[in-house]
């Protein structure tokens, strides 16, 4: 494999609690190239904290350490907050699950996208506005000119999500961290959003970290998948081999899905084995 875009080694994130430090992420290591890397796992397994740590956006209380956190030759571990502000939303963009946290309620959506564009690329107001309008079109917003002048509360949830995606992609980032970007969207809109992300990876050579709880989605959309459990990576797979997962946790997740063609009255709920917390990680052969 060529030099990876992002390289993470032994990432650990802990929170202080009355009972002492609680480790939410416990020694996570992975590389991302110009590919679609999926991260799946149940809520609380540390997916979002892992994604946020890459941009130093973990909550204030979090204690983050990593043996290595390299992005395209930049040591993120050592980067100042000022340097991070230049990287965030510029070379690395994060698409959050909930547009409410990323859109400013007091600003028209078009102006917000244009501002993101001007902040990270040296373009004038007119060019930024034109790029923003084009981006709204690219995320398949109907009547982009009308939507440009709306406030966030005036758009539906699915549209808000696409507007945020437009804002995150208008700067042409090298790495996109998408945290549950489509979980609130309906099937057809979801496929459009996936197409936009797919285009960025395949046509512009960006890297994508796609965090999701949806195994089917990840299996069909991503190239490679990391399965997280209790703050660790327990399995790494080629997406096309997800059905042949080896870890009992991954297998249990697959069995818990409702399926249109196979009705059941009770879904299989994964039981958890305490041994998984510190048990083996099933890695791909070629991987480091």
């Amino acid at each position: 494999m060529a030099e990876p875009l992002l390289s993470v080694r032994d990432l650990r994130i802990a929170f202080p609690s009355p009972a002492g430090l609680v480790e939410a992420v416990r020694g996570v290591s992975f590389n991302v190239g110009r590919e679609k890397l999926g991260i799946v796992g149940e809520s609380g397994s540390g997916k979002s904290m892992t994604g946020r740590a890459l941009l130093k956006l973990t909550p204030k209380a979090a204690q983050v350490t990593a043996a290595r956190l390299d992005f395209a030759g930049i040591d993120l571990n050592a980067a100042s907050e000022r340097r991070m502000r230049g990287i965030r939303g510029g070379r690395i963009s994060m698409i959050m699950q909930d547009p409410k946290y990323s859109l400013n309620p007091l600003m028209r959506v078009g102006s917000q996208i244009a501002e993101a564009c001007r902040l990270h690329q040296r373009v004038g107001a007119r060019e930024a506005a034109a790029k923003s309008l084009a981006m709204l079109e690219a995320v398949h917003i109907r009547e982009p000119k009308r939507v440009f002048d709306l406030y966030p509360h005036e758009v539906s949830g699915g549209m808000g999500q696409r507007i945020m995606i437009a804002m995150m992609l208008v700067t042409g980032p090298d790495l996109i961290i998408a945290d549950e970007p489509t979980s609130a969207l309906d099937v057809t809109v979801r496929r459009q959003v996936l197409s936009i992300l797919d285009e960025l990876v395949t046509q512009q050579g960006a890297g994508l970290i796609f965090i999701s709880h949806d195994l089917n989605l990840v299996a069909e959309f991503c190239d490679r998948v990391l399965v997280m459990y209790a703050g660790r990576i327990v399995e790494e797979l080629h997406a096309r081999d997800l059905h042949a997962a080896r870890h009992p946790y991954t297998q249990a997740l697959l069995r818990s899905l409702p399926r249109l063609e196979a009705p059941v009255s009770q879904l299989a709920v994964p039981t958890r084995d305490p041994a998984w917390r510190d048990g083996p990680t099933y890695r791909l052969e070629a991987s480091s």
Partner: protein, 262 residues
């Protein structure tokens, strides 16, 4: 001869328009359906098709609608009374927005009990936490100390604690991981038969809707395109072109360029 159960809930000719004049948006157009007592009715459709707007009108959150909404054959006034809000509870899509950030779980669960003057409050809190699979220690957590799945369980617990008759579920599992989704769907399935609950559920996930609902309506542009049984949905027996396209779009591959333009 099959007995037709009386409808617990009926929606007749529902029309909802947002805005006025040139800006008017006819978000719901002539929508009608009925759900029998103990039944489960599903609504699917793309974002913006009006599913949440239908649910909000039924729930009493939006009082500006035309047409009739009936509970046990009684037409409801648009502005509902307190009793209605106890019998009908809504679970929202977004477990982040639906919990007050500065209220502990205990307070979140006690408040509806105080409003509706129900006894044995602490016992009910413990029972309902157990029913949604949360340890009693969760009473003393704030929302930011909970994962998304845990928040949604608290949101469902807050509804259940009033022992409602009808649950309106707006994408209740779409923000949850699959293992929690399975637990919540099993929970909703079990609660429905144990407590004879009536459900109206909105979801973009056909498999999720099919898991819980026996009747399913497909919405597009504010209208019902088609209503069908879960058996017909599973077998792909939709009759309208739009429904057929929606059923075909349940794959997660990126859409091809021709499919993308809307």
């Amino acid at each position: 001869m099959k007995m037709v159960a009386p409808p617990a809930l009926e929606v007749a000719g529902l029309d909802i328009i947002f805005g006025h004049g040139a800006k008017a948006n006819h978000a719901v157009q002539d929508v009608s359906f009925r759900v029998e007592s103990g039944g489960a009715f599903g609504l699917i459709g793309e974002s913006g098709s009006g599913k949440s707007t239908v649910l909000r009108a039924v729930s009493g959150l939006n009082t500006h609608y035309h047409g009739d909404i009936l509970l046990h054959r009684q037409v409801l006034p648009p502005v509902r009374d307190k009793g209605f809000f106890r019998r009908t509870q809504m679970v929202f899509q977004d477990p982040y927005a639906s919990l007050h950030p500065r209220k502990m779980v205990n307070q979140v669960l006690l408040e509806p009990l105080i409003i509706h003057k129900l006894g044995r409050p602490q016992q009910r809190v413990d029972e309902v936490l157990d029913a949604v699979g949360l340890d009693p220690s969760f009473r003393f957590r704030y929302p930011h100390q909970l994962s998304g799945g845990q928040r949604q369980r608290v949101a469902i617990a807050r509804c259940l604690i009033l022992e409602p008759e009808i649950l309106l579920l707006d994408e209740p599992t779409s923000a949850l991981d699959v293992s929690v989704q399975a637990e919540i769907l099993n929970l909703l399935h079990r609660l429905r038969s144990e407590r004879r609950l009536t459900y109206v559920m909105v979801s973009h996930d056909l498999a999720v809707v099919a898991h819980l609902c026996e009747r399913i309506a497909i919405m597009n542009g504010g209208k019902f395109v088609e209503e069908l049984s879960v058996g017909d949905l599973r077998a792909g027996r939709a009759t309208q072109p739009y429904s057929q396209a929606l059923l075909a779009a349940t794959h997660y591959r990126p859409a091809s360029p021709e499919e993308v333009t809307v």
